[in-house]
């Protein structure tokens, strides 16, 4: 299991990377491992306004579909379109090419219930 130290994590297994006024969102290694082979990602659309803790997109594995919850509130400004052709990147590179979408955050960023890498590792058991 890999859990980069520079990211924040949610209890529902998303990660965020804060990059100035935007936040990059993906799912953790633990999440992709539990889902198994990802075969389709239903991304949000650019311009969607997301509310923290509500479903933002869906990841389909061979077995089942899983909701991805937006860890933060804000407007979607970019989506990882390459996942349309290579959804397996969510498995191969959950913290890299498998990122999902980018959210523009307001003046203040509410990190809500997110946690650091060590706490997240403990959460995963």
């Amino acid at each position: 299991m890999s859990t980069p130290q520079d990211l924040k994590y949610t209890r529902s297994h998303e990660w965020i990377r804060i990059e100035s006024d935007t936040v990059l969102v993906g799912v953790s290694w633990f999440a992709q491992d539990a889902m198994g082979d990802v075969v389709h990602v239903e991304l949000p659309e650019v311009g969607d306004v997301l509310k923290a803790g509500t479903p933002a997109c869906e990841i389909e594995s061979v077995k089942a579909v899983s909701d991805v919850y937006s860890p933060v509130s804000g407007e979607v400004v970019e989506i990882n379109e390459s996942l349309e052709d290579t959804p397996e990147n969510v498995n191969a590179s959950p913290y890299g090419n498998g990122w999902l979408f980018r959210v523009k955050i307001g003046a203040t960023l509410d990190l809500g219930d997110t946690m650091g890498a060590d706490e997240y590792k403990a959460h995963c058991g």
């Binding site: 198994g36 082979d37 594995s61 061979v62 077995k63 579909v65």
Partner: protein, 363 residues
């Protein structure tokens, strides 16, 4: 509740299988990944633990008479052959789908779905019309593996005393497998590939798994989990009981008319099924290809905005690279080429009825 383990449990653990609770059995859903395992079976060969399946024997002078009364197919096969069939209740609903193995004039083996084991045994026992036939649930006495894929014959041939080249599709023989006597080998399966299902006396079964893995090494054999078992069977349009068929569906609706033989002596469900046939079917199980998204069981099927049916199984097909599904629709929409829509979690996706199956083996 303690999960039940098969004789091969330690081999699944050692191979890094991802173990899940599958109807009370602790079984591997996958080892390396469902997609890779699926392709492994399509392109080469794979080994499955299917010991959770149930084995019921009908023994006695009238065993054939009894089974012909209990199932929809005619079991009009010689000894040493097997037949796929439905078993119906008096209303024509499907109690289970199963394979009947005719071992001798007075001995028939019925392989039933794990989830239906108790129900099927009780049904077979309580509806057995012949006083000279014993119905025996021997499920605990048997382990079962499936070797599926184009190299299955070569692999098993190396570790059995039987000449498997002489065993035709749906043929059944008794033999020694990896030194274990009293095994039953059948050229059957649940993947759409050529292959064998091997019933092994449970007490000696454990060593058979590594023996097959060793014999299969030159062919690159891999263990395969339940996840790929499901995608493989769906591509081949093989029924999953509880999803595609159950006691509320009839074999005629499910496209199992080919195993429903009206031209044989009376069998349970016959009059209900005949009435259904004469009145005309109201719905049919169809193969669907879905645009862009994956439909799952229970997604509503719509025509012109109106719900007309429901998806029973769905996945992304690793072989034909399309989103495939099965579902019931009114007969008038069941023709190949018909367009309809599927409500996938609140959003509509276009779908088309296609000819079954989704995959047919090329050899």
């Amino acid at each position: 509740m303690t999960l039940r383990r098969t004789p091969f449990f330690e081999h699944h653990q050692a191979a890094g299988g991802r173990l899940i609770d599958f109807g009370g059995w602790e079984l591997p859903v996958s080892y390396t990944g469902i997609l890779a395992e699926h392709k492994q079976v399509r392109n080469a060969v794979g080994l499955f633990d299917v010991s959770h399946m149930g084995e019921v024997f009908l023994r006695g002078p009238s065993a054939l008479l009894a089974i012909r009364h209990l199932v929809t197919n005619n079991i009009d096969i010689p000894n040493g052959h097997a037949q796929y069939t439905a078993m119906c209740n008096h209303d024509g609903g499907i109690v289970d789908d199963l394979i009947v193995y005719r071992l001798a004039d007075d001995e028939v083996l019925v392989c039933v779905n794990a989830s239906n084991r108790e129900k099927d045994f009780a049904w077979l026992r309580d509806n057995n019309p012949c006083a000279d036939v014993d119905v025996v649930d021997a499920s605990d006495d048997w382990a079962q593996v499936a070797v599926q894929g184009r190299h299955a014959e070569a692999i098993l041939d190396a570790i059995t005393d039987v000449d498997l080249s002489q065993v035709a599709s749906f043929g059944v023989v008794r033999g020694v497998v990896a030194g274990v006597e009293g095994c039953i080998l059948a050229r059957t399966g649940y993947t759409g590939e050529d292959g064998f299902e091997v019933f092994i006396p449970a007490e000696q079964a454990s060593a058979v798994w590594p023996a097959i893995m060793d014999a299969g090494k030159p062919y690159g054999i891999c263990p395969i989990g339940l996840g790929a078992r499901d995608t493989l069977r769906l591509e081949a349009k093989l029924m999953l009981y509880g999803n595609d068929i159950d006691e509320t569906t009839s074999p005629l609706e499910a496209g199992l008319g080919w195993v429903t033989k009206f031209d044989k002596p009376d069998f349970i469900g016959r009059s209900a099924l005949l009435a259904q046939k004469e009145a005309g079917l109201t719905r049919r199980l169809v193969c669907l290809v879905v645009d862009k998204r994956i439909a799952r069981a229970h997604c509503p099927i719509l025509v012109d905005g109106e719900v007309v049916g429901e998806v029973t199984s769905g996945t992304k097909s690793p072989t034909v690279e399309a989103n495939i599904a099965l579902g019931y629709v009114p007969r008038r929409f069941a023709r190949a080429g018909n367009r309809l829509q599927i409500d996938i979690r609140g959003r509509l996706a276009d779908a088309e009825v296609v000819k079954p199956p989704f995959y047919k083996r090329p050899y």
